[in-house]
């Protein structure tokens, strides 16, 4: 198949060179490279190790570099929505100064280090709600049959949205704590989070507005759902599933409603305190490490909650927890389909808490 691919692509390249010798038609693709920002420098780093055969761009890159030389490279930074089909928002275009490293092999984007500033250096706020993209254009020229050929294609790279933009007097609207969180998530996705391999989650582009100080439900406050005390930050990434009304028939509050109605039937002589203890809900990547959570935990996406076993004494502890109560909660959760994915009692929650997980319910953060 790769042979066929090589042949077809080489044919296409040849066709392009032969038939459109002076065009600058763009082949673009999303390279999914995360940008790292430091001061006023943007470092295009190949955060993910990529198989050179895994996409068009690299392949073309390789073939073309064998054919001839790159004549130029240019970098343009766009601010545009994540969805690729959206139209460019050229008004937010940034100018760059400083030269891109001209790498004839064009295989290693990490060599490109640029200084940059806003195109219109006026006071204002950078549009944190959008994604910043860097488009890395390569121009190839060759003499072919007497024609000058110049073909362009582009690499796209996405960045986290929480960039402290100070160039031109701009400022950021993101709370510094949220900026730090967004940077942590970007690091998780880019495999640069420390400690290594303890955060393997990619929530895509997060925005300041995704983090909340107010999202709550009728059982738990924003501070509880956001797990502020344990996380050490008064912001939370709280998915819709955590705050949906108990009457909606889905989500955490509905699960609690079912339990509050069912448990007294199962245990008419027990007086379990409600609302049940919320042992853990949203976890920041750093707190997830501290809590011993799995590296891809749904707690980090605000889609999971651990409800305390109400029989534990003292309440909220891990002591004297009755297994039959845990099993009854488990039975109710299964029979009423309260959780998308369960954790058996043998895992870390053990019999002192029950894990509710909403990985197949979508939802948003705003």
């Amino acid at each position: 198949m790769r042979t066929l691919h090589r042949f077809a692509c080489a044919a296409a390249v040849l066709c392009g060179i032969l038939l459109f010798p002076q065009s600058a038609s763009a082949y673009s693709y999303n390279d999914d490279l995360w940008l790292t920002y430091s001061g006023t420098q943007i470092n295009m780093s190949a955060a993910t190790t990529k198989d050179p055969w895994d996409s068009w761009g690299h392949w073309y890159c390789q073939v073309w570099s064998q054919i001839g030389n790159w004549c130029d490279e240019a970098v343009v930074i766009y601010d545009r929505p994540y969805v690729e089909t959206q139209v460019y928002d050229s008004s937010a275009q940034l100018a760059y100064s400083g030269a891109a490293v001209d790498d004839p092999s064009a295989e290693d984007e990490s060599l490109a280090v640029l200084t940059w500033q806003r195109a219109s250096p006026s006071d204002g706020t950078w549009n944190e709600a959008s994604q910043h993209y860097i488009e890395y254009d390569h121009y190839y020229t060759a003499e072919w049959g007497g024609f000058l050929s110049c073909i362009t294609f582009s690499f796209m790279a996405a960045s986290a949205s929480s960039v402290n933009v100070t160039g031109g007097g701009g400022s950021t609207s993101c709370d510094p704590a949220v900026t730090a969180l967004i940077n942590d998530y970007a690091a998780c996705a880019a495999n640069t989070f420390v400690p290594a391999n303890k955060c393997t989650i990619n929530l895509g582009p997060l925005q300041c507005a995704d983090f909340s100080q107010t999202r709550s439900n009728n059982r738990y406050s924003a501070a509880q759902l956001g797990n502020w005390a344990a996380n050490g930050v008064n912001w939370g990434l709280v998915n819709d599933n955590m705050i949906a009304s108990g009457g909606s028939g889905a989500g955490l509050e509905w699960a609690l409603l079912l339990l509050e109605v069912s448990m007294p039937i199962h245990y008419p002589n027990s007086n379990f305190a409600t609302p049940y203890t919320l042992n853990s809900a949203y976890r920041t990547p750093r707190n997830n490490v501290a809590a011993g959570g799995v590296a891809g935990s749904y707690h980090m996406s605000g889609n999971a909650a651990d409800i305390g076993n109400p029989s534990c004494t003292p309440l909220g502890s891990r002591q004297n927890c009755r297994l039959d109560v845990w099993q009854t909660i488990d039975d109710i959760a299964h029979i009423w389909q309260l959780t998308d994915y369960y954790e058996p009692v043998t895992l870390r929650c053990q019999d002192d808490c029950y894990h509710f997980d909403y990985r197949n319910h979508g939802g948003d953060y705003q």
């Binding site: 198949m1 790769r2 296409a12 040849l14 039959d324 488990d330 979508g362």
Partner: protein, 289 residues
């Protein structure tokens, strides 16, 4: 031949070249090898999983955590059309299920011997997280070949049970068969799925044969050796709402034998649930003595 004709021919050839190239680019995404898909190394398996669902560029370490439904709804690549990829996903899920069962067996074996249990065997949380992602995708395939796996995964929660119920009548017997499992969790949760079939699936609940099959199974569950399965049968029997089922409900409410002594009192978990269900249907407490 004039210039316009030449241009037309040349343009046609060019477009054919572009199309050929595009097709080739699709085809180059090979399915990861079985060795990768069944590797001992979790990260290798995760990487294989991401490549099977078409997220070739994704970091090998990453799972699907996050707004998964958004991912599923916006990325057609996540639900592959090709049979080969679908079967590969189902096979991966089956293999992961076996792996977790083996880990649990090993954990129990070591504990029984009083031997130290390595942490990754005692708490295979990472393996479970990956299993959840496999179920997330397999349950979204709506592929009947996934039915046996999903039925065997009913213990894992609503993703599997909802997917099974969505298969309709063909799913009834496989779920009923789970009542023969030696695992009380499996029997209990299968009993719950039978109740959900009656209330969630018009196709099943209106099919006389399926309804009869489910009724027989629920009556069997009501006589199960474990109280949890008998307790789970209560809701289904109440939903059936016929004389035979109601008679069994009365029997459970009045004479189910299982009890525990909690804080000095006898606690009859099946009796209390069956009684509550009958009271909900208008039966007076005095009738249940």
């Amino acid at each position: 031949m004039n210039t316009r004709s030449i241009c037309a021919i040349v343009s046609t050839i060019y477009l054919a070249c572009v199309a050929a190239s595009a097709n080739a680019a699709q085809g180059v995404r090979e399915i990861p090898s079985i060795a990768d898909r069944e590797s001992e190394n979790l990260n290798v398996r995760k990487s294989a999983f991401m490549r099977v669902i078409g997220l070739d560029n994704a970091d090998a370490r990453l799972g699907l955590a996050g707004p998964a439904a958004r991912l599923l709804s916006t990325s057609s690549a996540v639900l592959p059309d090709s049979d080969e990829r679908r079967l590969a996903l189902i096979d991966m899920a089956v293999a992961q299920q076996k792996r977790l069962a083996n880990l649990e067996a090993e954990n129990n074996r070591l504990k029984a011997r009083g031997a130290p249990v390595p942490e990754d065997i005692q708490f295979p949380d990472e393996e479970h997280e990956f299993y959840g992602d496999l179920i997330l995708v397999v349950s979204s395939l709506e592929d009947s070949r996934a039915l046996p796996f999903l039925v065997s995964a009913l213990k894992t929660g609503a993703m599997a049970s909802r997917a099974v119920i969505a298969f309709g009548i063909p799913a009834v017997m496989p779920v009923v068969d789970q009542l023969d499992s030696p695992d009380v969790d499996v029997r209990t949760f299968a009993t719950g799925v039978l109740w959900n079939m009656l209330r969630q699936s018009d196709v099943i609940s209106k099919d006389a044969a399926s309804r009869g099959t489910i009724k027989s199974a629920l009556l069997r569950a009501a006589a199960d050796s474990n109280y949890r399965t008998r307790r789970a049968a209560v809701l289904g029997l109440s939903t059936l709402d016929d004389a035979e089922s109601t008679a069994v409900l009365y029997r459970l409410a009045q004479s189910d034998p299982y009890y525990e002594t909690i804080e000095g009192r006898a606690w009859y978990p099946v009796r209390v649930v069956a009684s509550a269900e009958l009271r909900r249907d208008g039966v007076r407490p005095s009738e249940l003595k």
